[in-house]
């Protein structure tokens, strides 16, 4: 089937439209969804197609997220729009103490089929309270699945799976990727949670990444190729469940791994991957595992400072070169 080139925004609205079409318990709850199809236009067309199932709320995040939980417990399949991922902080009890724990605490009686959809990341110069990548908080909370897609085809297939999933899924959509286009099949399809994707095969080093940094790693890989370094790029796509097999296969081959994410470095998901590679793949490593993340500061407003804080292609290239140079034979 011939693919079309569509944006991540379009992929999102298509995924939701298809799921709403076949399951009338799917609905979206959040602020400012109807007038403009979401504040990023990500739900364009949906208010017309499903007028009763895309619901504008007051600015009451606690009630929005808690409301999603209550609806999920009682037979609905809500998508909760978090507006900006940064605002998860205003509903952390609902997410961490309720959403993530209800099924387990109550001995597996309940299921919570909901998606917490949260646009994250920097790039629109929105400063400290509108630019964060907070995925590691949720990976650190047992009971939540965490999705961090990059290209439109993955966004669509993973969002559909997240909606169908019977457990709570935190779905981070990078804000700088809404307009990013890519090939997407016109036929409905699903991508299972927990399967990484090798976006570029390579022999010398494995770049393990996700979300927007996938594109930066691909660009870096191209530059590295010019210097004779053949980098493999793995897009994890979901952090929980994690496809460690894919990492293991690649690192066994390249014997060299580097993790790249936009979230700040300390306590970021890269630390978890590096630890697991150390524990499970020590014997095949030829160099220390490298990590790149944002510098450990809130996001500054001024573009010169933001660009310094967030990993750039040049940072990835430099770190990969250094790591490959350290490889023992």
């Amino acid at each position: 089937m011939k693919s079309r080139y569509i944006s991540c925004s379009k992929a999102i609205s298509e995924a939701i439209a298809e799921e709403m079409e076949q399951d009338e318990t799917v609905f979206i709850l959040g602020e400012d969804l109807v007038a403009h199809g979401g504040i990023f236009g990500q739900f364009s067309g949906l208010p017309k197609l499903f007028p009763d199932r895309i619901i504008d709320t007051p600015i009451s995040e606690t009630a929005i997220v808690g409301g999603g939980i209550g609806a999920a417990l009682t037979g609905m399949r809500p998508i909760i729009d978090m507006h900006f991922a940064d605002f998860v902080t205003t509903a952390m009890d609902e997410i961490v103490n309720q959403m993530a724990k209800i099924r387990y605490m109550f001995g597996g009686q309940a299921k919570l089929p909901l998606v917490l959809w949260a646009p994250d990341g920097s790039g629109i110069r929105a400063a400290a309270q509108h630019s964060q990548c907070l995925e590691s908080w949720f990976v650190h909370t047992p009971g939540l699945k965490v999705v961090v897609p990059s290209e439109p085809a993955d966004v669509k297939g993973l969002l559909k799976s997240a909606i169908r999933d019977d457990d709570p899924v935190v779905f981070f959509q990078h804000k700088s990727l809404f307009a990013q286009r890519g090939p997407v099949s016109p036929e409905p399809y699903y991508i299972p949670l927990g399967v990484a994707d090798v976006k570029r095969p390579g022999a010398h080093i494995t770049l393990i990444t996700y979300s927007r940094m996938t594109y930066r790693c691909l660009e870096a890989a191209q530059e590295l190729a010019g210097q004779g370094i053949d980098a493999e790029v793995i897009d994890l796509r979901t952090l929980k469940p994690l496809d460690f097999n894919c990492i293991a296969q690649s690192v066994s081959k390249t014997r060299c791994a580097m993790i790249v994410h936009e979230a700040c470095l300390t306590g970021g998901f890269g630390a978890e991957i590096a630890a697991r590679i150390g524990e499970e793949l020590f014997d095949c490593l030829a160099a220390p595992v490298a990590r790149i993340g944002a510098k450990d500061v809130p996001m500054p407003f001024s573009p010169v400072m933001e660009d310094f804080v967030v990993p750039q292609v040049a940072d990835i290239v430099a770190c990969a070169e250094k790591t490959v140079k350290r490889k023992r034979l």
């Binding site: 504040i39 007051p58 629109i124 400063a127 500054p300 407003f301 001024s302 400072m305």
Partner: protein, 355 residues
């Protein structure tokens, strides 16, 4: 007596502005500030014009892509903001919102450091780390604009508690929108401020819209001012396009707080002329509605007419105010444009006091 709730009346007024031609509409608190003298009135006009010109030029600069990120302008809301801040002393505190330029200017901030901040320059109020949504000048009692709607309420509760513990007679004023009145933080802070009798004035600038959402669709109850009643504090609704009405109501609330009687809530009925942010498609309202508000309820226009009728100022005096402000703003923009960018590594500074 109209039987409709204030919120319903406001909603009706979006299409029927004749409501505003009758005085005393909407049970507004009408004890305008009558005691202020000509010099103070000129200062009030000047502040409103300063905000108007600052914001209009910020909008132009944004359109020319000279301001990164996004900006929320307060054009149309000047009377609400200036009336409120005119009741404060320099050592009083304010906390602002995402739509913060006006509050910060009204509390006395210098536009040149504000523009520098909007441009992301090192000379800005926050050294380029904050941008439009995060401007503060702690030396002027401005405890910060806030990018999180409703983020300011609990912080002001703490500032109020601190005033009480330090036994000063300062007052804290927290600005918020109609939309923010639905955050849980508002309700927690209002109750705590009331039980502790904290010297806080809650100023709700009800401009009818929270982003794309109309207040009458999102706020339950007769009005936002009426929510004060639930927390046992005075609540007043005031015509936010009339600066002296706002000042009268807010002055009463400030005096009440300063003399140890606890918090109050003032709801000002106002209107933003621009989109929620610059570039907003505004599909949620009509051009006619915006035009009608500009025509009939412009706060600066109304105040100028009053001053002319009273004979407080002449047309020439008013023109001189605009000229002076324009020159000051142009100079401030020049300062901001010419100021150097921060060094990239400056991003690593200011995180901790001693690290």
């Amino acid at each position: 007596m109209p039987t409709k709730t204030l919120l319903a009346q406001q909603a009706a007024s979006l299409t029927d502005l004749s409501i505003y031609r009758h005085s005393g509409h909407m049970h507004a608190h009408t004890k305008p500030a009558l005691h202020i003298n000509a010099r103070q009135k000129r200062a009030i006009l000047k502040r409103m014009v300063l905000i108007r010109v600052f914001e209009e030029k910020a909008g132009d600069l944004f359109q020319q892509k000279l301001i990164p990120g996004f900006i929320h302008l307060s054009i149309g809301q000047e009377a609400s903001t200036v009336g409120s801040c005119s009741a404060l002393r320099p050592d009083d505190y304010i906390i602002s919102t995402h739509r913060g330029h006006a509050h910060i200017l009204a509390k006395g901030a210098d536009p040149k450091y504000m523009y520098a901040e909007l441009f992301g320059k090192a000379a800005g109020y926050c050294k380029g780390k904050g941008g439009s949504m995060h401007i503060a000048d702690f030396s002027l009692g401005i405890l910060g604009a806030n990018g999180v709607v409703g983020g300011g309420f609990p912080i002001m509760t703490g500032a109020g508690l601190s005033i009480k513990l330090r036994k000063t007679d300062q007052v804290g004023m927290v600005f918020f929108g109609d939309g923010a009145s639905n955050r849980g933080t508002f309700h927690e802070a209002a109750n705590m401020a009331a039980v502790f009798k904290l010297p806080i004035v809650f100023v709700c600038e009800n401009n009818y819209y929270a982003s794309t959402s109309r207040a009458d669709k999102m706020v339950s109850g007769p009005s936002i001012a009426a929510r004060a009643c639930a927390y046992g504090m005075p609540g007043h609704f005031v015509d936010g396009s009339n600066v002296l009405d706002v000042l009268g109501a807010v002055q009463e609330a400030v005096d009440h707080a300063r003399s140890g009687n606890g918090p109050s809530l003032i709801e000002t009925s106002t209107y933003r002329y621009r989109g929620h942010f610059e570039g907003d498609k505004q599909k949620y309202r009509t051009a006619e509605e915006i035009h009608a508000h500009k025509l009939h309820r412009d706060p600066i226009d109304r105040f100028e007419k009053l001053l002319l009728i009273e004979g407080t100022l002449t047309r020439e005096d008013i023109d001189a105010v605009w000229e002076g402000v324009n020159a000051r703003i142009d100079e401030a923009i020049r300062f901001g444009m010419e100021a150097p960018l921060p060094q990239p590594e400056d991003a690593l500074k200011d995180l901790f006091v001693n690290l």
